[in-house]
């Protein structure tokens, strides 16, 4: 099944550069690199703020998974939508969110994307097409299907990408949703970020099949498996799925093999995996690999890459300042947003 979505080298297609290099403009590629750096630094900084007691609760970092988030969102339009997971910062940034408002949310401020009510686990950017992270594993999948149903009717051509993890694929919601989306040929793409573990439980111990993509067969759905740490491969694999979705062909499933460098959440002691395993995956750093590729094909210079990193640094700093200076919600507004305020005529 691997490579199902990968374009065959054809006689007409003698350009053997990676798909993304061929397909996107240099500016867009550089912007993708910027966003991948932004994800990484956003999470590192959030982690730091958490350690220093500035952020409460818990958080799930996606460091090491930047290519699947960015790659899956790369060909989405602002009108396309995503549903995300508890590990959702990367998706949110990849879909175009403003890190200042994200930090504001983590700091529980009124200026946050959820006005301080949601926090990391519910980070969203509805205007930007992110219908929200979700605290319930697989909770966003049926919502994505419903969103796609509405889009099919109200906004033909719009696509919903539903992110979820390997652990989520054992939830009943996954099964019911994929079946429904397939029967109704809805414009939704299921993107599984298979990082090998649902919390401490490896896919081998939780999941009867090696590849999540195998399950697509049960839903009569095309599926692909890609190296989720390879930005270009992810963008490439998304193309047939997007085409299918935009033209009424129905849903697809894409499995991105990747890895999270950090523990599951802030309370993880990493007892279920080895240092070697982690290090091995760190050598496959999706950002470093993307940078090499940009250098190799002359899209960016080392200097430009450094500039990108510096720009990210500044943006993160400003974002944290914005968050810190933002007002707290008022306790008297505790009940606000439970129900829609109805206009009194």
């Amino acid at each position: 099944m691997t490579g199902y979505f990968k374009q065959q080298a054809s006689p007409e297609n003698l350009d053997d550069r990676p798909f993304a290099i061929r397909h996107y403009s240099a500016d867009r590629l550089k912007d993708a690199l910027y966003r991948m750096h932004l994800i990484r630094r956003f999470e590192e900084s959030a982690e730091d703020c958490y350690m220093r007691g500035l952020i409460h609760g818990t958080m799930h970092l996606s460091i090491g998974q930047e290519a699947s988030a960015m790659g899956a969102c790369m060909s989405l339009t602002p009108d396309d939508q995503i549903t995300s997971t508890h590990r959702g910062h990367g998706h949110c940034i990849a879909k175009g969110a403003d890190v200042a408002r994200m930090f504001a949310e983590f700091f529980g401020r009124q200026t946050g994307y959820c006005k301080g009510r949601g926090g990391s686990m519910h980070i969203a950017d509805v205007a930007g097409g992110n219908l929200g992270a979700n605290g319930i594993v697989a909770g966003g999948i049926p919502i994505a299907v419903g969103a796609a149903m509405a889009n099919k009717r109200l906004h033909p051509g719009r696509v919903v990408v539903s992110f979820f993890g390997d652990g989520a694929n054992n939830e009943g919601a996954f099964h019911e949703s994929l079946n429904m989306a397939s029967v109704w040929k809805l414009p939704v793409i299921f993107v599984c970020e298979n990082n090998g573990y649902g919390m401490s439980t490896s896919t081998a111990r939780s999941t009867a099949v090696e590849h999540i993509a195998t399950r697509a067969g049960g839903y009569n759905m095309p599926a692909g498996i890609v190296d989720g740490n390879n930005f270009s491969d992810v963008t490439e694999a998304m193309q047939p799925a997007l085409r299918r979705a935009r033209t009424g062909g129905g849903p697809s499933l894409l499995e991105c093999k990747t890895y999270r460098w950090r523990g599951h959440s802030k309370s993880d002691r990493n007892l279920y995996r080895t240092k070697e395993e982690i290090q091995q995956w760190q050598r496959k750093d999706p950002i470093a690999r993307f940078e090499s590729s940009l250098l190799e094909y002359g899209i960016a210079t080392q200097h430009q890459i450094q500039q990108t990193a510096d720009r990210v640094e500044g943006d993160i700093e400003r974002a944290i300042d914005y968050a810190k200076e933002s007002p707290q919600p008022s306790v008297k507004d505790l009940l606000k947003y439970v129900y829609t305020e109805q206009q009194t005529p």
Binding site: H122, S177, Y339
Partner: protein, 331 residues
């Protein structure tokens, strides 16, 4: 004023859905066997023939995803009406209902609304036993973010459904299976019954009976008998479980000084518990001349045997007995 006709509770619900389907392209129905089958209780009836399979959608037997799909569709601008075949199956969808539909607006700081309507055929009396006879409205009444209604008449069934469709938030409608064939006067065309308002359906002096759903006609029957025995009962139809119309209840109890709560759901932690506690917490406390009595469902699953099944939920006779005992209490 609209013409009025005598139609059944099921027909009234269908009428409301037809009006909404006609008036608003965004409205659609979703559920198991609601198309050509017409719904397990023939509520959707021939709507699929009138509005097509795109608006009246048979779904796979997947209650959890069904609820989630309705949520996603609502967030994105449609107005789904999701039919559960039996309210008992809501137990499969509580995640999407209570964790997603009810909380999404709040968790996202008001950035979305989730205007979804879900319909739940409820209650016992059909011999369908423990997994097809429950009255679970109290679960939903406990969840902020949801609105929960329980119509007892064809008029209210139609008016509350049309109100639910105008409501920007998730509205759960608990219908009673035994009421589907009960007829009543229903105006043609569009009208609404406000969500959040109870109705004093019979005025009285000696005690207040707060009832909901099928217990309203039973309470009214009982009130007739009570009147013959010289007891004047005021009957309140709750109509909405959440938000509860405490004002109307409290006002009545301040007048009658006695309260009997009648409901089909399991007594413990059923809606009567909230009615009672709300009254005792209010200014009506000072007017109470007797303990508040709750007549709720038995502390058992609904049994299959017809006699046991009857005994498991309040019947007219139980209401009469409880009311007489309550009204006769001299303090």
């Amino acid at each position: 004023m609209n013409d009025v006709s005598e139609i059944s509770y099921a027909e009234a619900i269908k009428d409301a859905m037809a009006i909404a389907l006609q008036a608003d392209e965004r409205v659609f129905l979703m559920g198991e066997d609601i198309g050509v089958y017409g719904g397990a209780f023939q509520v959707t009836g021939d709507l699929v023939h009138r509005f097509g399979e795109d608006r009246v959608i048979d779904m796979p037997i997947s209650e959890l995803a069904g609820a989630g799909v309705a949520v996603g569709a609502a967030v994105n601008g449609l107005r789904p009406i999701l039919e559960f075949q039996f309210s008992d199956f809501a137990a499969l969808a509580m995640e999407q209902i209570a964790n997603q539909a009810a909380k999404m607006r709040y968790m996202l700081g008001g950035e979305v609304s989730v205007p979804v309507v879900m319909r739940f055929p409820s209650g016992s009396g059909t011999g369908a036993a423990a997994q097809h006879s429950q009255s679970l409205e109290a679960w939903f009444g406990h969840v902020p973010g949801l609105k929960v209604v329980q119509p007892s008449t064809p008029y209210d069934a139609k008016g509350l459904l049309l109100a639910a469709l105008e409501d920007p938030d998730p509205v759960m409608i608990f219908e009673h299976k035994l009421l589907y064939k009960v007829k009543g006067e229903v105006p043609e065309g569009h009208y609404t019954v406000p969500i959040g308002k109870a109705a004093v359906v019979l005025e009285g002096r000696d005690l207040t009976i707060v009832a909901s759903s099928i217990m309203v006609p039973r309470a009214l029957d009982a009130a007739g008998e009570l009147a013959r025995q010289g007891v004047s009962a005021e009957v309140i139809d709750l109509r909405t479980i959440r938000p509860l119309d405490r004002e109307t209840i409290v006002k009545s109890v301040c007048k009658t000084h006695r309260l009997l709560c009648v409901y089909e759901g399991v007594k413990t932690l059923g809606i009567g518990a909230e009615v009672s506690a709300s009254v005792v917490e209010s200014e009506a406390f000072d007017f109470l001349d007797a303990p508040i009595v709750r007549l709720g469902g038995a502390e058992s699953p609904i049994p299959y045997n017809p006699e046991l099944e009857k005994a498991a939920v309040p019947q007219k006779e139980n209401i009469i007995d409880a009311a007489l005992a309550l009204a006769s209490g001299v303090r």
